[in-house]
């Protein structure tokens, strides 16, 4: 894995939203939705970005796709052997790059145009990118439908005729239409029923092997993340607090927040609840984060210095990054404690 090529490198990414008040809409503060995030994704791997609502995971993914402009930082993306910084590009410059990174959305109901038939939905990116020949397009659409295991007969049906799982397959086929190298999937299975969720997760794994895709997988559900990802980045209030290979992170978490998240995830084993860590209070407000480490008010290992010093994300062992002042000294419970 270590010699693999980096496809995407994000450094010091920030996205602040101004809070405006009053008649003159004066800026009175900043919501620090993303506040200095750095990570890289290697070609062919899946990096999961996990965290609870408001942690900034979706904002990170939107900045990478340049659906919004970051406030600071760089987003280096490798296209055809050349490295470009997406952060500074203008609309026109971004356009030819967009085909290389595509998105799979969370809600398969609102992300498909109800007035277009399946063939047109999947074929639209092809048409926009210059495949004007009808027959050629139809051939490619059928190829894509086979790839995501949709029967060819569905090509002229409207989305309303489909279940959530089938709609998500349509969304994936559309994302794959232009042979992108990076797929950003924002909670792709959280709106689906469990029995269907497993089908879509398996499909994503198969497609990755088959087409050598690279995924940025944004999710809140740690059990889903465990099944699909090579590495995991855990976010809390706009920052990455821990980044590691999946197995290592689940077995021996280094950040107290990761430990609490793992212990809070319900496991389908009756009677496994006794060892649960219950965090006090709510997630910090990104408009007004606590001083020092943003997690300190909820952390059971917090010391006096955690209230003043802000920990930086450091690599404390090979491949193990953690942003915690006590990261080196704490021994935390992994998933073994759950069973």
């Amino acid at each position: 894995m270590s010699e693999a090529v980096t496809l995407l490198e994000v450094r010091g990414l920030k996205k602040h939203f101004p809070i405006r008040k009053g008649l003159l809409r004066k800026v009175v503060g900043q919501v620090r939705a993303v506040d200095g995030v750095s990570f890289s994704i290697r070609k062919g791997e899946t990096l999961a970005l996990v965290g609870e609502s408001g942690c900034g995971k979706t904002t990170v993914s939107r900045c990478i796709l340049r659906a919004m402009a970051p406030s600071a930082g760089s987003i280096k993306f490798v296209v055809d052997g050349k490295t470009v910084d997406l952060a500074g590009l203008r609309r026109g410059e971004l356009r030819p790059l967009r085909r290389h990174m595509q998105m799979v959305f969370q809600d398969p109901y609102s992300s498909l145009n109800p007035r277009m038939v399946v063939g047109d939905i999947i074929g639209e990116p092809l048409l926009i990118n210059g495949m004007t020949d009808r027959e050629e397009r139809r051939k490619r659409v059928l190829e894509l439908m086979e790839l995501v295991q949709l029967p060819a007969a569905y090509i002229s049906r409207f989305p309303h005729a489909f279940s959530g799982g089938q709609r998500q397959r349509i969304g994936i086929a559309r994302a794959l239409a232009l042979n992108p190298s990076l797929i950003v999937a924002d909670e792709p299975v959280s709106a689906l029923d469990v029995s269907v969720q497993a089908q879509i997760l398996n499909l994503m794994l198969d497609l990755q092997d088959q087409l050598k895709l690279t995924y940025l997988f944004v999710a809140h559900d740690l059990s889903v993340v465990k099944h699909v990802s090579d590495r995991v980045a855990v976010m809390y209030v706009g920052r990455i607090v821990e980044l590691a290979e999946t197995e290592a992170l689940f077995d021996t978490p280094l950040h107290p927040y990761t430990e609490a998240l793992l212990s809070a995830a319900p496991t389908p084993v009756p009677g496994a609840v006794s060892t649960r860590i219950i965090l006090e209070r709510d997630i910090a407000d990104p408009a007004n984060p606590p001083p020092g480490c943003a997690f300190h008010p909820r952390c059971r290992y917090a010391e006096a210095r955690c209230k003043v010093e802000t920990p930086e994300l450091e690599e404390i062992a090979p491949g193990r990054h953690v942003a915690c002042l006590r990261g080196r000294e704490l021994t935390l419970r992994g998933i073994a404690a759950l069973s």
């Binding site: 029923d193 469990v194 029995s195 969720q197 740690l222 099944h227 809070a264 009756p270 997630i283 759950l338």
Partner: protein, 331 residues
């Protein structure tokens, strides 16, 4: 075991639409006991929420309860009464003091124009005959009980000023305001983050222990069931396909659907990057309910013509009820 507080017997609820009638709840039976939690689990369209609404008599039109019994053993004693025979006035004295409901979406279930204190007090003054001052004191006491910090200040706040977790706590306080004996919680933590979910589940367990509440917990999450419920009813397209104690059913599921469902859940224990066993196909649209056993098109253990044509009856074994021909009931 003691007598159940609430017994649902062969409940049927239908929705009449132009395209045909949807049998949303189609012969569901279960018992709820004091101090115990019954989990009702299933995927979308299985009828779990309609079951809850049927018990409280708040099924929205064009839905209608068309058959069965909902037997409640009232606090004042006496023989069980059938709630389906009650008129609207009598039902009003059941909702709140006997059975209360916690909704899934705490934001959508509050009025935005009244303070939370006001909304809690409304039920208290109506059912318990307290005056305004006492009702307010009781509201503060309730907020304190469910772990809302600074209750005497929070009581005057509006729902939009609270976080999702706090809102759900207030919702639980409101449900408990008239001392119900049965609490129905319809996906109480689905809209919440995991760490907040852990807090709310902990609160529910704690309240149950202190007050001997009977809880009906409706969820799609097998993890939540494993953690919270004593008994479970697994539903599929309007029917309870398997009912029994949680530990037994998780250890040895009898119905092929329960088995497949349990296998297809992602868990944090899995090896990274492993494929999950799946259930083929998807949940049928309620208008195209399959003939025979509704699960047969997706079932991996289907018995030839039998499952395609006839519906399996509910078979009782020692602690369990299963609707599957593999476990008896063949004609």
């Amino acid at each position: 075991m003691a007598e159940p507080i609430l017994s649902v017997r062969d409940l049927h609820t239908e929705f009449a639409a132009q395209e045909g009638t949807v049998r949303a709840v189609d012969g569901v039976s279960f018992d709820v006991f004091e101090g115990r939690t019954l989990g009702v689990v299933g995927e979308s369209g299985c009828g779990k929420s309609v079951t809850a609404r049927s018990i409280l008599g708040i099924v929205e039109r064009p839905g209608k309860v068309t058959g069965g019994q909902i037997l409640l053993r009232q606090a004042k004693g006496g023989a069980p009464v059938d709630l389906l025979k009650f008129n609207e006035n009598q039902m009003r004295s059941v909702r709140g003091p006997e059975i209360a409901l916690v909704f899934q979406e705490p934001m959508a279930s509050f009025s935005q124009y009244y303070t939370i204190g006001n909304q809690i007090m409304e039920g208290i003054t109506l059912h318990m005959g307290l005056d305004k001052k006492d009702a307010r004191a009781r509201a503060i006491e309730l907020l304190d009980m469910v772990g809302v910090p600074q209750p005497s200040r929070r009581v005057d706040e509006y729902p939009f000023q609270l976080s999702g977790g706090l809102r759900q706590r207030v919702m639980i306080a409101m449900a408990l305001s008239c001392d119900p004996r049965v609490l129905i919680a319809d996906e109480p933590t689905t809209a919440l983050d995991v760490t907040t979910q852990a807090q709310i589940l902990d609160l529910l367990r704690d309240l149950q222990e202190k007050r001997g509440l009977a809880i009906i917990l409706i969820t799609h999450d097998m993890g939540v069931i494993a953690e919270m419920a004593h008994d479970v009813a697994v539903m599929y397209l309007g029917r309870a396909v398997e009912t029994g104690p949680v530990a037994d059913i998780f250890a040895k599921p009898d119905h092929p659907y329960t088995r497949a469902l349990l296998r297809s859940i992602p868990t944090v224990m899995a090896k990274p990057r492993t494929r999950l066993p799946t259930i083929s196909g998807s949940i049928p649209h309620p208008f195209n309910r399959p003939k025979g056993c509704a699960y047969h098109p997706r079932c991996s253990e289907i018995i030839g013509d039998l499952c395609e044509t006839s519906e399996p009856p509910a078979i009782d074994t020692e602690h369990r009820q299963v609707r599957c021909f593999l476990h008896g009931g063949r004609p």
